[in-house]
Amino acid sequence: MSTHTTAPTGGTAAGVPGGIPGGTLGLAGGALLLGVLPFLAGNAYLEHLLVLWMLYALLALSLNIIIGYLGELSFGHAAFVGVGAYTSAILSTQLGLPPLIGLPLAGIVAALFGLVIGYAALRVVGPQFAILTLGFGSILYTVTNHWVDLTRGPMGISNIPPLSLGPITFAEARETYYLVLALVLIVAFLCHALVNSRTGRAFIAVRENAPLAASLGVNVFHTKLLGFVVATAIAGVGGAIYAHYIKVITPDIMGVHNVAALIIVVVVGGRGTIAGPILGALVYIGLLESLRVAGPLRMVVFAALLTGTVVFLPGGLVSLWSRWRGPRHAEGGAK
């Protein structure tokens, strides 16, 4: 899936080719470009969009572990983002804990939820799993919405303090951008390392043929549970950063819209690749902002985009690259 060879990309906006040997130059170029982007952006609004892009890229990369590598569709991922966001927000506003401690705790709490929910839901596969995760997501949403004593219900939590690390406070877009960018690069690298590791090969084997993988000694249930828990932990951390950056969270963060958004990002970008979710997040945030005037029509566009991608471009946008390269290679450079 992600092992097709491509030449260095020369640093496109999302130039982090997934698991490609020989793409190191493109990778470095892409990372460098991502690093200087805030200076090119020039104004606070664009910098804010860059932060949102990276946040969605981080969340999409975590969902991609489930959709792309485990081959299961989770409709409850936004709930774990919400669990992370609420954990860190509650710890910092009600207990006065420094957000830096809240951040890993958000990941741990989200992972614990992931462990329990995954343990129950991963007994079934395919559509049933997708529906079960939707049900679990709805439970978490309903509880968050009604447990007013803890979460303030639909009013949400406001005045969440920004993250700080020693003398650095991540209050502004630019600092937050670098923090999230670093996390995206780390997670991207981990995904890359994962795909090439024994565990990652077990993931792929389970995705392609679970009974065969089981017959080769892979514990299918444990493998899937591991992937699910890791994905939910990353989602929790991403949610916590979102909460400290935006400073206000409501139960809507767990809602159906956010679930659909994350799935759209992963599928439109290209599931099972590393560049895909990052590119998909760019497309999503770009369209979200440029179509802001269109109002409700926006979601219609996204829905059409999702359906269109699934039907006409199952590999997502990143597969355009290999599609475009493919024929020219085959014909020996002839037009």
């Binding site: 007994r123 529906i131 999702l306 039907v311």
Partner: protein, 292 residues
């Protein structure tokens, strides 16, 4: 525990449950025959409620005619959706189908918001304000109608699947599509009619429940979630399972809402499926492939 209150809760639960059964029957038929998990099913429920509303306000039709017209129009829309999206994808991976049905759901829900506006509406029904006393239990006539119409429709659907020629073709397709095609069954036609039946049931359910609640363009989410819970609990593809699971969910939600907490009522329903699935991962009534 007060017996009157308890009986009232049970009656309310059975009425809600019957509406769930109506939604879930369509979902389970589509899954059984077409092997499609249709996320857009709830949107046909929403369309049914809205078309009934507009047929009543704009065309000035009476409630019953408006509801039937709504169901027929939505059934036709369902056929169109099947022809445009699901039929061309029938040989594709289940992921593709699941994701495209999610896309369709978002498309219909947001187009609905665009066309109908986001503000809630009330479906007018002559039965909504009339009260009927059955023993100690008090129900509005509309809620009695929900229950009665749902029972009648479900019996008709059951007899149709069981004894009609077309029902036999549906069951044959559910058991083995290739084998059914070999014996001369027009699979495309079976798919179309099954979709029409399922969407018509969803729309009818929307038209029946509409007058008892507010309607807004996002109720499809709610409907499909309830439908899925029932279908998963009963076993995908099982009509009998949908009946028992739907009534069970309705009653448990009603009792949970009455005796524990109204706010957490929904969560209690979801918690129930999880308990069931830990015990029977494929649902209460799951057996081999086919319609039951």
């Amino acid at each position: 525990m007060d017996v009157t209150v308890f009986a009232q809760q049970i009656a309310n639960g059975l009425v809600n449950g019957m509406a769930y059964v109506l939604i879930a029957t369509g979902l389970t038929l589509v899954f059984g025959v077409l092997r499609i998990v249709n996320f857009a099913h709830g949107e046909f429920y929403m369309l049914g409620a809205y078309l009934t509303y507009f047929a009543g306000t704009l065309l000035g039709l009476d409630y019953i005619t408006a509801a039937l017209l709504g169901a027929v129009v939505v059934a036709a829309l369902g056929v169109a959706a099947n022809k445009l999206i699901f039929w061309p994808l029938r040989r594709d991976h289940e992921f593709t189908i699941l994701l495209s049905s999610l896309g369709l759901a978002l498309l219909i829900a947001n187009s609905g918001e665009l066309l109908f506006g986001a503000d809630p509406k009330y479906v007018e029904s002559p039965f909504a304000d009339e009260v009927l006393d059955i023993g100690t239990v008090t129900l509005t006539q509309q809620r009695v109608l929900v229950f009665g119409a749902a029972v009648a429709v479900l019996v008709a659907v059951y007899l149709f699947i069981r004894y009609s020629r077309f029902g036999k073709m549906m069951r044959a397709t559910a058991q083995n599509p290739d084998g059914a095609a070999l014996t001369g069954i027009n699979i495309g036609l079976v798919h179309s009619y099954t979709f029409a039946l399922a969407c018509g049931l969803a729309a009818l359910s929307g038209a029946l429940v509409g007058p008892t609640v507010m309607i807004f363009p996002t109720i499809g989410n709610w409907a499909v979630l309830k439908g899925f819970i029932v279908v998963i609990m009963g076993g995908l593809g099982s009509v009998t399972g949908a009946l028992f699971a739907g009534l069970l969910l309705g009653v448990i939600e009603s009792l949970g809402g009455g005796y524990i907490s109204l706010g957490f009522m929904e969560a209690i329903g979801y918690a129930m499926i999880i308990a069931v699935l830990l015990w029977r991962p494929n649902g209460l009534f799951s057996t081999a492939r086919g319609l039951r």
